[in-house]
């Protein structure tokens, strides 16, 4: 199913749509309050955007620098050209350590690469330790949001999932109690797993260090207790220097949830004595995106999800309607880069209202890129023949003023005489909206008579 079809299903339960919309709008409002407390907010966004601009222009050098420094720190660095290679590298590390169980904190990259499914097929048990991710993992669903993976679930539903999968008491819905139960269950996993995988929010070229941001401390619990820490990062996560980090950490949590900073902002440099630390640096289409000038800036993304929370379409269609690991406006400009045929619907799942581009902490021109993707997709033939024919007809009529005047007049007359030709169930406009009432004369007809 494509986005409009999935969105239509989501909208069959209007109360749920209202609840989803209000929940995410509240997050947007918290973002606004946090941003407005910093008079320098817009300057900060500009600085972040420019730093990332520099990174993208010099990515090759920064990556080599980062690798060298990380290796000096005792970190093993791996390079993965695509999702498959990434998954194979992680699997190989697990096999080499004779481990069949692993804890994993939040990493959208591993969602993008479908790591869990790959490892499970190869006999590895993966436990997601981010609470939201754990909920969707138990439910057998992908995350619907990159910061709040189970935001589409109501607390009563989470109680039900826990009851079903963890054997907790039925009918629980108190968030505090549910969180406590998940924590107890996860604690046991943290203590017994020898390998922990984390994502990476920022990788610092000048030092080889990397930073992982969470609100639950689950990345730290995993990494500090395990013998092997695997950190996976998209190659665009680089920032040049330590001094740039503050620009991003100030923007990230405020944009994401309205917090001044994430509860845990953990800096990793080198493995503890006896510990292994692996970094997997992944391309998976990023080089291609870097080569597309119109879409390059999408690689500036720091995965804050502000564009999702503000998006009026996302709020009313739900994250799963985007059928890709990264939903919402940013996902809609990233996904076609990976596969145009599969994601040709996504750049059209927007009104081009522009709210996304203006909340984006790194100033990605998201809505402009949506517009440009539409042009590319049509040029590449990812459009229905009927739509193409309709557009050609429209262009022909509008390119000739006499045809336009006659067509308009005839159309209005027909609408007045036979309203049923447009006001019927085959017309998607008419399903929930009345058609405009056609006036007797057009403006140009009036103008001829009166001026």
């Amino acid at each position: 199913m494509n986005h409009p079809q999935r969105a239509e299903v989501f909208n069959r339960d209007e109360d749920r749509v209202d609840w989803h919309d209000k929940t995410l709008w509240w997050v947007r409002q918290k973002r606004d309050m946090a941003a407005h407390k910093l008079p320098e907010w817009e300057a900060l966004r500009e600085a972040a955007s420019q730093i990332k601009h520099n990174v993208l222009s010099n990515l090759d050098e920064y990556l080599v620098q980062f690798e060298a420094h990380a290796q000096q720190n005792g970190v093993t660095v791996h390079w993965a050209a695509d999702a498959t290679e990434h998954n194979q590298i992680v699997h190989r590390i697990l096999v080499e350590n004779q481990v069949t169980q692993m804890v994993k904190s939040k990493s959208m990259l591993t969602e993008e690469c479908h790591l869990n499914e790959y490892l499970e097929r190869n006999g590895i048990e993966v436990i997601d330790t981010d609470l939201g991710e754990r909920v969707v993992q138990l439910a057998g669903e992908p995350p619907s949001h990159i910061v709040m993976p189970c935001i589409h679930k109501k607390k009563e539903e989470i109680g039900e999932i826990f009851h079903h999968h963890m054997g907790t008491e039925a009918g629980l819905s108190d968030p505090q109690i549910l969180t406590g139960l998940a924590r107890t269950d996860l604690r046991q996993r943290f203590l017994t797993r020898r390998v922990a995988l984390t994502g990476v929010n920022f990788a610092i070229a000048e030092t080889g260090e990397f930073v992982v941001c969470t609100n639950e401390g689950n990345a730290d619990m995993g990494a500090h207790l395990a013998d092997v820490h695997i950190a996976c990062m998209g190659m665009e996560k680089i920032i040049p220097k330590r001094e740039h980090l503050g620009v991003f950490t100030r923007l990230l949590a405020r944009s994401a949830t309205g917090q001044p900073s994430t509860t845990y902002t953990s800096h990793f440099k080198k493995p503890r004595n006896g510990q292994q630390m692996h970094l997997v640096i992944v391309d998976n289409g990023r080089t291609v995106q870097l080569g597309r000038e119109d879409f390059r800036n999408s690689l500036k993304c720091i995965r804050c999800a502000a564009c999702m929370n503000t998006c009026p379409v996302y709020r009313r269609s739900g994250g799963h309607s985007y059928h890709t690991a990264i939903a919402g406006p940013i996902g809609s400009i990233l996904a076609p880069n990976l596969n145009m045929a599969d994601y040709a619907d996504l750049p059209f799942a927007s009104t081009l209202c522009g709210s996304c581009s203006n909340v984006c902490p790194v100033k990605i021109d998201i809505h402009q890129q949506l517009y440009k993707w539409r042009q590319v997709l049509v040029q590449q033939g990812h459009v229905s023949a009927s739509k193409a024919a309709g557009m050609q007809a429209m262009s022909t009529v509008l390119s000739n003023r006499r045809v336009f005047a006659v067509a308009g007049s005839a159309g209005r007359t027909l609408m007045r005489w036979f309203p049923g030709i447009v006001s019927n169930s085959l017309n998607p406009w008419y399903k929930q909206r009345e058609m405009p009432e056609p006036p007797k004369e057009s403006f140009r007809e009036w103008y001829e008579k009166n001026r």
Binding site: H3, P4, A7, E8, N11, E14, D21, W25, D32, A35, W41, E42, T310, P312, V313, R316, S317, F348, T351, L352, C353, G354, S355, S357, N358, V359, Y371, R374, Q375, L377, V378, K387, A388, M391, Q392, M394, S395, L398, S399, N400, R401, F404, G408, R412, N427, P428, K431, Q432, R433, E434, P436, P438, P439, E441, S442, F443, R444, E445, W446, R451
Partner: protein, 249 residues
């Protein structure tokens, strides 16, 4: 004398002639630097091309662009009662035949409230509209043309349409819970993504109705046409009206 070319969007010409008449009359009353304005309506105009371009068919708008440059190349200003069409022209009007002329044409395009505020510098209006009115901030006018300050940015508030509406006698503007959320029209989005589009429209309408608006106004009839479709389906007493009709009332 300053010449203003009136650009009436295709659907406004066909479905909302009253808004175009109000725009014409309103412009004819204005002066620039103490001198009168001559308003002309080039008759060969049709459409800015946005419906095709936003659907991914910008390449089909070339004949429309040439037509537009030909029709409007000679006037001093081009004014349109639609933020969305004005924005499209400003961003995408190009010409294979004469790009310099297209650039010059592009640069003199104004949305109506922007023209009244920034070029005419209107300080008072002889208008009376004794009703409770909600202002719908259309996205392309708001975030594209920057007709008002958007809630996303940490920046000083201002609003050109509101500044003009506040000059109208008897008008009472209502506050909204979400003063600048999209209505969900979005061109072909309104039929391609019918479910989400209609829901967005219903939510926008509810905000205005909840706050007692008798009229919803705005600088873009495309959004208002969508909201009107929903209001009429709900048999609501709230109506839509283009801002030019209020400013010219």
């Amino acid at each position: 004398m300053t010449t203003v070319g009136l650009f009436v969007p295709c659907y406004v010409d066909q479905f909302y002639p009253k808004a175009a008449i109000a725009t014409l009359e309103l412009l004819e009353k204005q002066q620039i630097n103490g001198g009168p304005i001559q308003v002309v309506f080039p008759k060969g105009q049709t459409c800015c091309g946005q419906p095709m371009a936003n659907s991914g068919f910008e390449h089909l708008t070339k004949p429309l662009n040439e037509q537009f440059v030909e029709q409007f190349g000679a006037v001093d200003y081009i004014v349109s009662p639609s933020g969305s069409c004005a924005l499209h022209l400003k961003e995408h009007l190009h010409s294979d035949r004469n790009e310099d002329r297209a650039t010059a044409t592009r640069q003199k395009v104004y949305e109506l409230t922007e023209f009244l505020t920034d070029v005419v510098k209107v300080t008072h209006l002889k208008a009376r509209f004794p009703y409770r009115v909600g202002l719908h901030q259309s996205c392309h006018g708001l975030r594209g043309l920057h007709l008002s300050q958007m809630s996303e940015l940490v920046a000083s508030p201002f609003s050109k349409p509101m500044q003009l509406l506040n000059m109208v006698d008897g008008i009472e503007m209502v506050n909204l819970d979400r003063p600048d959320e999209c209505c969900g029209f979005g061109g072909t989005f309104c039929v391609v993504e019918e479910a989400v589009s209609a829901k967005m429209g219903k939510d926008r309408v509810a905000d205005h109705v909840r706050h007692g608006a008798e009229y919803i106004t705005g600088a873009d009839l495309s959004c208002l046409m969508h909201l009107e479709g929903i209001l009429r389906r709900q048999n609501s007493r709230t109506k839509v009206i283009h801002i030019a009709e209020i400013l010219n009332s």
